[in-house]
């Protein structure tokens, strides 16, 4: 059996373990979740360690001593493990937050703020443009929480809410489709002709195991909703 097929079968088994949580928390689902967290944690550790090694430690060893500052900042971050030394970690956090905010603000002004306002300045010659202008202004005005909900502003607020609800409704419909696509993506791999038999066998084993556990009350059955 080649490693690709073995991988598909292993993937099918662990997927069934993950899906078993739909019946209710059980030993198989908890085992699968902890296995997932462990492997993912190890993967994140290894890949990020590789990045730090190649981007900071190797340059220092090759004579680029400015990266000693980066290494020191990284070591300071570990002071978060002891509460008395937590203040040391504020330095690398300050660098990261300062740079991150600066980078976000400088381009958000152009792309999100001015860019979107510019795109809203449209001629009032068709219904689509009118909807766009009214919707944008009222939806943005909805977030003025310091204004009194009376007079003309009350109608602006209500109109803005309708447009925001339309946006949330569209997102909800798209999200439902997205969630189905996730399941389908998994099922396509689990029900491939070369893997299907293993999937059914594992399903049967899990059903028998969980059924025995629930019948003998060794696994808690979650009743109701």
């Amino acid at each position: 059996m080649d490693s690709f097929l073995l991988g598909l079968i292993a993937g099918s088994f662990v997927s069934i373990g993950a899906y078993s949580v739909l019946i209710g928390d059980n030993p198989l689902s908890k085992f699968t979740e902890n296995l997932y967290m462990g492997i993912l944690g190890g993967f994140i550790f290894a890949t990020n360690w590789n990045y730090v090694r190649t981007s900071a430690i190797n340059p220092v060893l090759q004579g680029n001593y400015i990266f000693v500052v980066a290494v020191i900042l990284c070591v300071m971050l570990f002071s978060r493990l002891k509460i008395e030394w937590l203040w040391l970690s504020r330095y690398p956090v300050a660098v990261t937050v300062g740079a991150g905010l600066g980078l976000a603000i400088r381009t958000s002004v152009m792309a999100d703020f001015l860019g979107q306002i510019n795109a809203t300045v449209l001629p009032l010659n068709n219904i689509n443009n009118l909807v766009m202008i009214v919707g944008t202004v009222t939806a943005a005005a909805y977030f003025i929480f310091t204004a009194q909900m009376e007079g003309p502003y009350k109608y602006v607020n209500q109109t803005g809410r309708i447009f925001l609800l339309a946006a949330f409704g569209v997102t909800y419909g798209q999200t439902v489709s997205f969630r189905f696509e996730l399941v389908i993506g998994r099922l396509v791999d689990m029900l491939r002709p070369e893997v299907a038999l293993y999937t059914y066998a594992m399903l049967l084993l899990v059903a028998l195991g969980l059924g025995y556990g629930y019948y003998t009350k060794k696994i808690k059955w979650y009743s109701g909703r």
């Binding site: 902890n34 997932y36 919707g135 998994r186």
Partner: protein
């Protein structure tokens, strides 16, 4: 130097100086030394971010290891975590391109992750059946938009109800687009407001003040 200066004020000033350097560089011509400093700072940010992720995995491993040591609730599952972490991290640190390391990730973690992520399909359907009600006009708007757009997206929807396609595309492009544009403008103002508060030292949560106070009480 005073305690407060070193532990609080210098980090706050550092946040403001670095943030302002990034902003000014974008809008005004700067000497090459400043541009070079900014490039170096940005590369430092990527290295610190990678280290933060490493720290996160270490904290989680310490938690599970303590649970095994003190025989906490359901401690045996923590053994699964610790063994999986040690094996995977060990293989990856030795060689991040090792085939066994990549096989474990691709064929164990990826399917579980995909399955866990896809569980919401079931919960969203159950929740929709129980809770998604047209109780008033506002809720009706949300419900109708969701139904129209979902029927537009599934191929059979266009065959059973042909008008949903142009209607759904219009709702998605114009009313919904206008709503999201309003949100983007609001979010952008929020980012600018947050930046001003952080640079002026009025907001210090990013420096871990709450954690320090909570753990020292």
């Amino acid at each position: 130097m005073s305690d407060r200066l070193v532990k609080m004020q210098i980090p706050m000033i550092l946040t403001a100086v670095i943030g302002l350097l990034m902003i000014i560089e974008f809008f005004f011509p700067m000497p090459a030394s400043v541009t070079s400093l900014n490039v170096t700072l940005r590369s430092f940010v990527t290295i610190i971010s990678a280290t933060a992720l490493i720290l996160g995995t270490i904290v989680l491993t310490i938690f599970h290891t303590k649970k095994v040591g003190t025989r906490g609730s359901e401690w045996y599952y923590s053994i699964v975590y610790v063994v999986a972490f040690v094996v995977t991290a060990g293989l990856g640190v030795l060689n991040v391109r090792d085939t066994t390391f990549l096989w474990i990730y691709n064929n164990m973690t990826s399917p579980i992750g995909a399955a866990l992520y896809s569980l919401t399909a079931f919960y969203i359907t159950s929740a929709a059946y129980r809770v998604l009600r047209a109780r008033n006009w506002n809720a009706a708007v949300l419900l109708v938009c969701a139904l129209v757009v979902l029927l537009m997206l599934i191929p059979i929807g266009a065959i059973l109800f042909p008008p949903v396609v142009p209607l759904g595309e219009w709702i998605r492009s114009f009313p919904s687009g206008a709503g999201f544009r309003g949100m983007i403008i609001g979010t952008s103002l929020g980012i600018m407001g947050l930046g001003v508060r952080v640079f002026m030292g009025r907001q210090k949560e990013h420096l871990g003040i709450r954690e320090e106070r909570r753990d020292s009480e």
